[in-house]
Amino acid sequence: MVIKMMDCARFLDGYSDYRDGLLADDEGAEYLAHLAMCGSCARYDRVVRSGVAMLRELPELEPSEDFVLELKHRIFHEDDDRRRMQRRASGAATAVTGAIAASIALLAWVPAIGERGRSVVEMPPITALAPASVEAEMLPLPSFVDTQADWVDLMREPQPGFASLVRYEYAGTGFSNAEFVAPR
């Protein structure tokens, strides 16, 4: 196998791959060859390895004695909060459901309540005839006569220089209309 020579910059660039064993065999051989020849890179590799080894020798921290107890305490409160939220949520859901049911019931009863509460006043039928004065003096005025009206009533007697007020009524509709009628 022919091993290509590499320079120090390339060695340092790819050092992590070499250290973590991520290189293919031939590339790994290049790194090893470079390490064998280059004192500076060999020192670099030695420093990293021994430094990391010292770090790994550092005493490990242990959690304090009450760590688990405290955690359990917090989890108890976590569960408690969750239960309270669920109760609140289910209470709110019940309230909303109740409110919707009440609204529906109310809507269902409203027409009946309306029927019960509404008072119907029976009025005697109103009948009127067009006064003779209207017929004689004011009517028919083609522009004002409403031929659809069933009744015509003179609301104000004609005065010299003033308009009269005439009211029309339409039987069966409860609708009326009023118009000023100019004097002749």
Binding site: L22, V47, G51, L71, E78
Partner: protein, 213 residues
């Protein structure tokens, strides 16, 4: 299609392995058992990860007490969100991601609040000035002192690394995580992980080289 669902159900049942002692289950088995309502499975997970996470967070933040608080918070978040955890993923990666994010937030808050930073430095200084403990009688006092001094210097070399380099360095060198896991934990792509790790190793070597020769 129904076969796929049936297969998934079977594999999930196998994961939970009802009746098998919790200590014999792997992490995914414990997660499955916890989700089935067995609370002791969570305690087992805590037992497996509490020391590892404490050391990881301590090495990242440099504050022991705060590290313990952050690990507590990590487990609370795990407990709260375990039902949303994607069980096709590795539990250890997930739990390290949570701890790493909390440590990162801690460092960010500390840099914004000089008082917190000062308190941390003071606390560490106080612990540094404690008298030497004679942990090993086979060493002579000067050897012990030298060894302890070197360890402290190596530790401080890690502290000197920029935060994003330090996290990657610790995850790889101390926690033995793969590049893919580190990428997931730190939310970076593989290229970034590689370049950060290479730079971190380079900086680390430069700081400690004069001490080790």
């Amino acid at each position: 299609m129904s076969d796929i669902f049936a297969l998934r159900a079977i594999s999930r049942e196998n994961e939970a392995q009802p009746g098998r002692p919790l200590a014999e289950l792997d992490d995914s088995g414990l997660v499955a058992r916890f989700l089935e309502g067995e609370k002791r499975a969570f305690t087992e997970l805590v037992g497996r990860y509490q020391a590892r996470l404490l050391n990881f967070v301590y090495r990242t933040t440099g504050d022991r007490e705060r590290a313990e608080d952050l690990v507590q918070e990590t487990f609370i978040r795990v407990y709260r969100h375990l039902h949303r955890f994607d069980q096709s993923k590795k539990f250890s990666t997930w739990v390290y991601t949570i701890a790493s994010n909390l440590a990162k937030n801690e460092l960010r808050n500390r840099s914004r609040n000089p008082l917190v930073l000062f308190q941390t430095i003071r606390k560490n200084h106080e612990s540094d000035s404690k008298p030497l403990e004679w942990e090993d009688n086979t060493y002579r006092p000067d050897d012990l002192f030298r060894k302890r001094h070197l360890r402290a210097l190596v530790e401080s070399a890690v502290d000197q690394l920029p935060e994003h380099h330090r996290t990657v360095f610790i995850l790889r060198e101390m926690e033995g995580k793969t590049y893919e896991e580190i990428a997931e934990i730190t939310s970076c792509n593989l290229g970034t992980v590689k370049s950060r790790l290479n730079r971190a190793r380079n900086n680390f070597a430069q700081v400690i080289a004069p001490l080790l020769d």
